[in-house]
């Protein structure tokens, strides 16, 4: 049974879709419960997968492989077939991200209690989105990865465009087109690699590209080709991450999309960019990646500072958080650019950590918006009075975001910078400015809402018991990783070691 475990995991949300199809669309309550139960199923499966997963095991686990698509090509050198397989599997990195996905999905489903209309189609799309996200991290070849990658786009387009706020359609289009650009570049790069090497499997590709140049010449793979491919991949994932100046779509999405979807989006979808950079960028083209490390680091620092500076004077708390995401993704780049164990681990930690933190913060903002019908900082003040738990959690989330020790954000920032300081101390020192700015904008926003003279809110209720579940679980996870990072780093180490081995230590 274990052999199909991953496929079951990936497609388990389909059960929810199926059940929903036969649920009357006006039955709000059962739909919402099905929505939550439907996301619990993948979570359960993910936990089973985790138990089947050997922590210290190297390489791919629980792999599945089936012939899928086959093009037969008749070329002068003889019959060459270009088979495409359905290949899934997990290593430490993808296991972590799959877990993150399934957890955040459940919490977002709970947060979806605030959705006001069309619950049925909302949850169907939600489930499809989850399939895409799980699949992206489990896919072991480019084709499958791309398919799941695109699968996430379409439900997102709908979810933003139908359930978002005022300028939702514009945001949905922004999302679609920017990500379309990313995936377009991705597709060209993938197909080119496929046609050059005849395989789409990650490991085989990595092996092929690591062959000595004399053998690569027979495949017509030059150094420049590799560099070109890497740059294409970097650009493609830079859109997703996003890297300034390709970030404006993300800000729009964060402002306009419904809160549970933003939880998912900033919690997981942005992480696909980071995942791609690690697996494809560093994993396939280590030498070229190393030679571009400075540029990546530079962009990381730019991202960090740019996002932070822009967050400082935003008036809308959603925009603050959006730019904060830009800024925090800079830390991922910083970690990657350092090309050492510390940096890489830091980057992955940042992926997970930001996933949890931003999910938490956007959840809270959603609550706030539901209460007040606004997310403008001016409309708030002294919320701590009427909503002390809310204020406490929000403050905790903010502190986690600014990298307070004991919370996950610290570990990731620490390790990413630790990594970069080894390789590019000056750049890293400039980057640390971002740590100060982060404190400035996070406190400004959080304190503007929770502290100060109380302003009347139309509907100031503290977190209800359903709302507390996601808030507390996320907070607990943030603390857990912050206090006991070894759990995560041990899981990641074998995978990162392989990548680092390619990078030459």
């Amino acid at each position: 049974m274990n052999t199909y475990l991953l496929s079951i995991l990936i497609f388990s949300p389909l059960l929810g879709v199926l059940v929903l199809l036969f649920t009357p669309s006006h039955d709000e309550k059962s739909i919402k419960w099905i929505g939550i139960l439907g996301t619990l199923l993948p979570l359960g499966t993910a936990l089973v997968t985790l138990s089947a997963f050997q922590m210290s095991g190297e390489g791919l686990q629980l792999a599945e492989k089936f012939q899928w698509v086959s093009y037969e090509v008749f070329q002068s050198k003889g019959d060459v077939s270009y088979p495409i397989f359905y290949e899934v599997g997990v290593n430490g990195l993808s296991m972590v991200l799959i877990l993150l996905t399934s957890v955040v999905s459940v919490l977002a489903a709970i947060a979806s209690f605030s959705i006001k209309k069309d619950w049925k189609s909302y949850f169907i799309l939600f489930f499809l989105l989850e399939i895409g996200m799980l699949g992206v991290f489990a896919a072991q070849n480019l084709f499958l990865f791309f398919i799941f990658f695109e699968i996430t786009l379409i439900p997102m387009f709908f979810l933003i465009g139908r359930w978002g706020y005022l300028e939702k359609e514009k945001a949905a289009y922004s999302f679609l087109i920017y990500n379309g650009v990313g995936s377009a570049i991705l597709l060209i790069a993938f197909v080119t690699m496929f046609m050059k090497t005849g395989t789409m499997n990650f490991e085989q590709l990595a092996y092929t590209f690591s062959l000595p140049q004399s053998e690569l010449n027979q495949l017509n793979i030059t150094k420049n080709f590799k560099m070109g491919m890497l740059i294409a991949l970097l650009v493609a994932f830079a859109v997703k991450l996003p890297v300034a100046p390709l970030h404006s779509w993300m800000v729009r999405v964060h402002v306009q999309a419904p809160p549970p979807i933003v939880m998912i989006h900033s919690g997981i979808l942005l992480k696909i960019g980071a995942y791609g950079l690690i697996v494809f960028g560093a994993g396939l083209f280590p030498d070229q990646f190393k030679s571009l490390a400075f540029v990546i680091g530079l962009f990381g620092v730019i991202n960090l500072l740019y996002g932070a500076f822009l967050a400082i004077t935003q008036r809308d708390v959603k925009r603050v958080l959006a730019y904060s995401s830009v800024s925090h993704m800079g830390i991922v780049l910083i970690g990657l650019a350092s090309v050492n164990e510390a940096g890489m681990t830091g980057a992955v930690f940042q992926v997970v950590s930001h996933g949890l933190i931003s999910a938490l913060l956007f959840f809270l903002v959603g609550v706030l918006y539901e209460r007040a019908g606004s997310s403008n900082l001016k409309d708030f003040g002294g919320v701590a009075k009427k909503m002390p738990i809310f204020a406490g959690v929000m403050l905790a989330g903010g502190l986690a975001s600014l990298g307070l020790p004991g919370m996950s954000g610290f570990i990731s920032e620490f390790m990413a910078f630790l990594g970069l300081f080894e390789k590019m101390p000056v750049l890293a020192a400039i980057g640390t400015l971002g740590l100060i700015l982060t404190a400035v904008y996070v406190l400004r926003a959080v304190l503007a809402i929770t502290f100060g003279a109380e302003k009347e809110l139309p509907n100031a209720r503290d977190l209800s018991s359903t709302e507390r579940i996601p808030a507390f679980i996320l907070l607990a996870a943030i603390l857990f990783i912050g206090i006991y990072p070894a759990w995560l780093s041990d899981m990641l180490r074998p995978t990162l070691d392989v990548i680092l081995l390619g990078l030459g230590g």
Partner: protein, 622 residues
């Protein structure tokens, strides 16, 4: 005993958790949870200290997580320096807990306050117990969190909110320095462990430039935490917090963490002459600078706050001038008398419900306990002989002189004079003369508040005898057992130094007496004679305004600029592409004009152009 020292911080943490759960409780007996648990910590600390006194040290570590082959460790360490700190911290914390039981009476978030106190105590004790820089850094930040929460305890007050934010951000600037220094050291040494760092320093594995750089970076951290110039502005503002908090955090413990940091990393500093000089200069300048501001403040707590900054400057000066023991000695005595002063000030505020000294006066008779205790504190800090401050300050002056830093020496003497002056200005204005405000309901504070003050008062008197040339240098002998190699021969400067110091402080007291008690000199005597200077001093040298005009405005400006950039350049480029496509679309649909004949014409044109291209580029006619 030592094996259980790791429990010391955990009791306050337990207190934090318990009280957070009980946060809605209206009962004020919840305070006893905090008092009791910190009391246990105190007992343990004293036990540990005694063990260390007998020469037992301990260091326990375990792997926290691994980065590649390198293990990042966590654990605890007890050595003379931090055992002393443990006692100071847990003692003051315990006393402040007790005091707050009375001071916070009636506050609707009573348990929360004690919870925060617990969190802070946990962090501070954890900081002290840390065996490596990383762990120290983590607690360092948590201490900042505790401070932040307590400054902002009255969250509904805009000033408190601003002060909390300012405290956090300003100290974070320093923290980043510490962070950089720590990480740089890591890549030099391969570890965050103090031992290994010191070993590398000793072996000369680190280039001298890097040594200076890392030492300075770490010192930046100390500057931020200890409110040294130029990052001092948050500390006076932090007085927005409840007064016990000021006593605990912003006088005795957290702000001393900077000094502790420099002391804990002393071998690193010793290895770099430049770093030591910088420490000394920053300390000396801060001492006199803050003292000068203290001269003219009207808020009782702010005067004390500037006094704290100034005294911390003294400690830095001592450390910078190779007066390791002197620095720590002053840290110890200062913790007691400054906590005493703050608690006494709190008692005063508790009585008169104002912090403005202009509205006080003549309280001596009404506050029969607080008054004398305040006087003890004032005498101690002013360096009046036989009280604790006298000995420690004397030692600092002596080491500075012996280290050859004569300029700083005289600076410190002047600062001592100023200290005496503003402290007694405060004392005379508050306790003597006629009441200048409504003092109808004024009465002495309850026992839970006076008791801690009395304890501190006793300590403020006797703590000085820890290390004297007359009775014995217990402290320096004790510290000498630690990992730090003390600078050879603690300086015993020329015999005239105590006389000069005493003279300076007595002169200050006398001047204050003349102006504020006797009225022999007009109060605005200085204002009139040096209007420009007094204006500058009164406005705290315009540092806040300067920062506001440069860094704050600059950052905001940059941010606004960034927003414009985002809007017009980043989005503008996209808009340009979009309108380009739309333009093409427009052309495309214009061409589609409904005339079938023009369609044909376009087609023919297309074919002809294609043929032309073929003819020109195909090479058929060459």
């Amino acid at each position: 005993m030592l094996q259980s020292s790791w429990l010391i911080p955990l009791f306050p943490l337990l207190s934090f958790i318990l009280l957070l759960i009980l946060r809605k409780s209206k009962s004020e007996s919840t305070a006893w949870i905090g008092v009791l648990l910190t009391g246990i910590s105190l007992v343990l600390s004293v036990g540990v200290w005694l063990a260390v006194w007998q020469g037992d040290f301990i260091k326990v570590e375990g792997t926290w997580f691994q980065i590649g082959e390198r293990a990042i460790t966590m654990g605890y360490e007890v050595n003379p320096l931090n055992a002393l700190m443990l006692v100071i911290v847990s003692l003051v914390s315990f006393l402040v807990h007790l005091y707050s039981k009375g001071y916070m009476h009636g506050d609707e978030r009573f348990p929360v306050f004690f919870a925060y106190l617990g969190l802070f105590s946990f962090a501070m004790l954890g900081l002290v117990l840390s065996p490596n820089l990383l762990q120290l850094y983590m607690f360092w930040e948590l201490v900042g969190l505790g401070s932040f929460l307590l400054i902002g305890f009255y969250y509904f007050k805009p000033e408190a909110k601003a002060a909390a934010k300012k405290a956090f951000v300003m100290t974070r600037i320093g923290d980043v320095g510490l962070f950089i220094g720590m990480v740089l050291l890591f890549w030099q040494v391969g570890s965050f462990e103090y031992d290994e760092i010191f070993a590398s320093v000793k072996n000369g594995d680190i280039s001298s430039g890097m040594l200076t750089l890392t030492a300075l970076c770490i010192f930046v951290g100390a500057i931020g935490k200890s409110g040294q110039l130029p990052l001092h502005t948050w500390l006076p503002d932090a007085m927005e917090g409840p007064t016990p908090v000021s006593a605990l955090i912003h006088a005795a413990t957290m702000v001393a963490a900077g000094v502790y940091l420099v002391a804990a990393m002393y071998p690193l500093f010793q290895a770099s002459e430049t770093a030591l000089t910088v420490v000394a200069v920053v300390g000396g300048v801060t001492a006199i600078f803050a003292a000068s501001i203290g001269l003219m403040q009207k808020d009782i707590k702010r005067v004390l706050a500037y006094s704290t900054v100034s005294q911390l400057g003294y400690m830095m000066l001592a450390l910078g001038a190779s007066g390791y023991v002197a620095g720590i000695f002053h840290l110890t005595t200062h913790a007691f008398f400054k906590a005493l002063l703050f608690l006494a000030a709190g008692s005063v505020i508790h009585a008169v419900h104002t912090q403005n000294i202009e509205e006080m006066g003549g309280l001596w008779k009404k506050l029969r306990v607080t008054g004398p205790l305040f006087l003890i504190g004032a005498l101690a800090i002013s360096g009046v002989p036989l009280l604790s401050g006298f000995f420690s300050k004397d030692e600092i002056l002596a080491s500075t002189y012996a280290d050859g830093k004569y300029g700083l020496f005289w600076l410190a003497v002047v600062a001592a004079f100023m200290t005496a002056f503003y402290m007694f200005r405060l004392f005379f204005l508050v306790f003597t003369g006629k009441p200048r405000g409504d003092q109808s309901g004024v009465h002495e504070s309850p026992g839970v508040m006076t008791l801690p003050m009395i304890v501190l008062g006793v300590l403020a008197v006797v703590a000085g005898y820890l290390n004297t040339t007359w009775f014995g240098t217990f402290l320096s002998d004790y510290l000498a057992r630690g990992p730090v190699e003390l600078p050879h021969a603690e300086h015993h400067g020329p015999g005239w130094i105590p006389i000069v110091a005493t003279a300076a402080s007595l002169l200050g007291i006398a001047l204050a007496y003349l102006i504020y008690r006797r009225g022999a000199l007009s109060r605005d005597w200085m204002t009139r004679s040096l209007p420009g200077l007094s204006d500058v001093i009164y406005n705290k040298w315009y540092v806040d305004e300067g920062y506001d005009a440069t860094f704050v405005k600059g950052t905001k400006g940059l941010s606004k600029l960034g927003i414009l950039f985002d809007k017009y350049v980043v989005d503008g480029l996209v808009a340009a592409v979009v309108s380009g496509v739309q333009g093409l679309s427009k052309i495309g649909s214009r061409l589609q004009n409904g005339q079938v004949q023009s369609y044909g014409t376009f087609a023919i044109f297309g074919i002809v152009i294609l043929l032309l291209i073929v003819a020109l580029t195909g090479g058929y006619f060459s």
